[in-house]
C-alpha cells in the first residue's frame, strides 16, 4: 500500500470505530424513545417497527399517576434552588475573584470539598431535623438540601467566569468615581451574564436530576420526577411504555438545556458538578 492509501485505510477504520461508539452511546436513549411511543403490547413483543402512539404521554398525566404534579414539583424545586443559589454565589465569587481575603484558600478548599461529600452522609441529620420541624415531604425542605449540592459548584464556576473578565474596565470606572456596588451592577454583571446563565442552567440540571434527597425526604406531596418513576411499577412488573414516556419527560428538557450550554459543559463538570 502507498502512504496515501494507508492513510485512507486508517481513516476509514477510525470512522467506523467512531460510528460504533456513537451508536452504543445512543442505544439506551433510542430504546427509551422507541418504547415511549409503543403500546403496551408492542413493548412486550419487542417490535422494531410499529405504529407510534402518543397514548402513553396522556396516560402518565392521568389518574393514578398524576405525573403533572411531579413535573410542577421538580420545576419549582429546581427553579427556586437556582434563584437562591446564583445571586448568593455571584456575590461570593466576585469577592473571591477580586479581593484578598483572610482564610481565602481555606474557604475555597472547604467549599470545593463539600461538593464531594457523599449525599447519603449529610442527608441523615437533615432527615432527623426535618422530621422535628415538619419539613419532610415539602418543597421548601428539598430546596434547602439542594442548595447544599448546588452552591459550592456555582461559586467555583462563576468565580472562573469573573476571573476571565479583565480588571481594567472596573478600575477605570472606579477612577471616574463609581462606587464598588455601581461597578458590580453596571460593569461586572452585564459582562458575567453569559457565565451566570450557564451556571444557572447547570444548577437547574443538577437539582432536576437529584435523586437521593428526594427519595428520602419526600413520599407524596413533594415527590419530584425522578422519584415519580417508581410509580410505574405494577404488581405484574414494570410498565415499560409508561416508564419510558416519563423518562422522556425527564430527560428531554435537560437535553435541550445541555445543548444550549455545551461549550461550558466540560469546564463546569470538572468543578465537580452532578451526581
Amino acid at each position: 500500500m502507498t502512504g496515501k492509501q494507508k492513510k485512507q485505510f486508517w481513516n476509514a477504520i477510525q470512522i467506523t470505530l467512531i460510528l460504533i461508539a456513537a451508536f452504543i452511546m445512543l442505544i439506551p436513549i433510542i430504546w427509551i424513545f422507541l418504547a415511549a411511543f409503543k403500546t403496551h403490547v408492542d413493548v412486550y413483543q419487542l417490535k422494531l417497527f410499529f405504529t407510534p402512539t402518543f397514548e402513553n404521554f396522556g396516560t402518565v398525566f392521568d389518574s393514578p399517576y398524576h405525573l403533572g404534579d411531579k413535573l410542577i414539583n421538580s420545576t419549582i424545586v429546581a427553579g427556586v434552588t437556582v434563584l437562591f443559589a446564583i445571586p448568593i454565589a455571584t456575590c461570593a465569587a466576585y469577592s473571591f475573584s477580586r479581593f484578598r481575603l483572610r482564610f481565602e484558600t481555606s474557604m475555597l478548599v472547604m467549599i470545593l470539598a463539600t461538593q464531594f461529600v457523599p449525599a447519603v452522609v449529610i442527608i441523615l441529620p437533615f432527615f432527623v431535623m426535618f422530621r422535628d420541624l415538619g419539613l419532610l415531604d415539602t418543597r421548601l425542605g428539598l430546596i434547602l438540601v439542594n442548595l447544599a449540592i448546588v452552591m459550592p459548584f456555582a461559586i467555583w464556576m462563576i468565580k472562573g467566569f469573573i476571573d476571565g473578565i479583565p480588571l481594567e474596565t472596573e478600575e477605570a470606572a472606579m477612577v471616574d468615581g463609581s462606587t464598588r456596588m455601581q461597578v458590580i451592577r453596571n460593569i461586572v454583571l452585564p459582562m458575567a451574564a453569559p457565565g451566570l446563565f450557564t451556571a444557572g442552567i447547570f444548577c437547574f440540571i443538577i437539582a432536576w436530576n437529584e435523586f437521593l434527597f428526594a427519595l428520602i425526604l419526600t413520599n407524596k406531596d413533594a415527590v419530584t420526577l425522578p422519584i415519580g418513576l417508581a410509580l410505574f411499577k405494577a404488581e405484574e412488573g414494570d410498565l415499560w411504555n409508561l416508564l419510558s414516556a416519563a423518562g422522556i419527560i425527564i430527560m428531554l428538557p435537560m437535553f435541550i438545556l445541555a445543548l444550549i450550554i455545551r461549550k461550558y459543559f466540560v469546564q463546569g463538570m470538572t468543578m465537580g458538578a452532578v451526581r
Binding site: I29, A119, V128, F211
Partner: protein, 290 residues
C-alpha cells in the same frame, strides 16, 4: 462602604449556606454516629454509645464488609474501564472536523441523563423476556439468550458496571479531548518526521503530557464511583441479595429502611475518610493548575 468590609459581607451569605447545608450536617452525623440513634424509638437519639457503632460494623457485620468489597471492586473496575475507553475515544475524536465535532456534541446527551434514569434504561434493556440484549443475543448468540442477567450475582454486578461506564464515558472523553488539544503539535510532528511509530509518539510524548489531566479525571471518577447510589437503586436495588450493594446503598438501607440512624451514620463516616483524602488530592491538582 469600604472594600475591606464589603469583601467579607459579599462572601458571608455563601459561607453561611455552605456551613448550614454541608458542614453542619457532616458534624452532626459524626455526633449521631456515637449515639444509639433508633429512628422509631422515642427520645431520639437515645444517649451515647462511644465507639460501639463502629466496632459493631467492623467486627459483627458481614453486610458492612460485603458493601465495602462491592464498592472497592466497583470503583476499581469502573475507573479503569471508563478511563481506558474514554482515552481511546478521545484519541479518535480529537482531530476535530465536522463529523467528529458532531459526535462530540452527541456525547453531551447521555451526560444530561439522570443516573436514576440510566439505571431504569439498563434494567429495561437487560430484561430477560423483552429486553434489547435478550433479542440481540437471541439472533447472534442463542445460548446467551434468556439469561436473566439481573438475577445472577456476577452478571448483575457486570450490568451495574456497564451502566456506570456508559454514563461516564462521555464526560471523561470530553475532558480528555480538551487535554489532548492543549498538547503542542510541533513536538509530535517533529517525532513523526524523525520516523517514530504511532505507538512511540503516544507513549513518549502524548501520554506524559496528558498525565496531569488524566490524574484529575481519575480522582474525580474515583470520587463519584465511591459514592454511587442512584443507578444501583434503580437497576438492582443492591440485589440479588447484596451482590451489588454499594456503601451508599448500605448506609441508605440501614438508616432509612431499618431506622438505625446512629449505626448508619458511623458507616457513613467510615466512607467520608477516603473521600477526604481523594478530595485533598483533587484540590491539590486544581490549585496547581492555576
Amino acid at each position: 462602604m469600604r472594600d475591606n468590609k464589603l469583601k467579607y459581607l459579599l462572601v458571608l451569605p455563601a459561607v453561611l449556606v455552605v456551613f448550614a447545608t454541608a458542614v453542619w450536617p457532616l458534624v452532626e452525623s459524626l455526633r449521631l454516629s456515637f449515639t444509639v440513634g433508633r429512628l422509631t424509638k422515642p427520645n431520639f437519639p437515645q444517649g451515647y454509645l462511644g465507639w460501639e457503632n463502629y466496632t459493631w460494623a467492623f467486627m459483627e457485620e458481614p453486610a458492612f464488609w460485603n458493601s465495602v468489597e462491592v464498592t472497592v471492586v466497583y470503583t476499581l473496575v469502573t475507573v479503569v474501564l471508563t478511563t481506558l475507553i474514554a482515552l481511546g475515544l478521545a484519541m479518535l475524536l480529537a482531530p476535530g472536523g465536522r463529523f467528529r465535532g458532531g459526535v462530540q456534541t452527541l456525547l453531551i446527551l447521555p451526560f444530561a441523563m439522570s443516573p436514576a434514569l440510566i439505571g431504569v434504561s439498563f434494567r429495561f434493556m437487560f430484561n430477560p423476556e423483552f429486553g434489547l440484549f435478550d433479542a440481540f443475543f437471541g439472533i447472534v448468540l442463542p445460548p446467551l439468550a434468556d439469561i436473566s442477567w439481573l438475577s445472577d450475582p456476577t452478571l448483575a454486578f457486570v450490568v451495574c458496571v456497564m451502566a456506570d461506564v456508559w454514563g461516564w464515558i462521555p464526560f471523561l472523553t470530553l475532558v480528555l479531548i480538551g487535554g489532548l488539544a492543549s498538547i503542542p503539535q510541533d513536538t509530535i510532528e517533529a517525532a513523526q518526521v524523525d520516523g517514530a511509530s504511532g505507538w512511540r509518539v503516544f507513549k513518549d510524548i502524548t501520554l506524559p503530557q496528558l498525565l496531569p489531566v488524566l490524574a484529575v479525571v481519575l480522582i474525580l471518577k474515583a470520587i463519584f464511583s465511591l459514592k454511587t447510589f442512584d443507578q444501583i437503586y434503580m437497576l438492582t436495588n443492591g440485589g440479588p441479595g447484596t451482590a451489588t450493594q454499594t456503601l451508599s446503598h448500605y448506609i441508605y438501607f440501614s438508616g432509612m429502611k431499618y431506622g438505625q440512624i446512629g449505626y448508619s451514620a458511623s458507616v457513613a463516616w467510615v466512607m467520608v475518610i477516603p473521600m477526604v483524602l481523594l478530595t485533598f488530592l483533587y484540590a491539590k491538582f486544581v490549585f496547581q493548575k492555576r
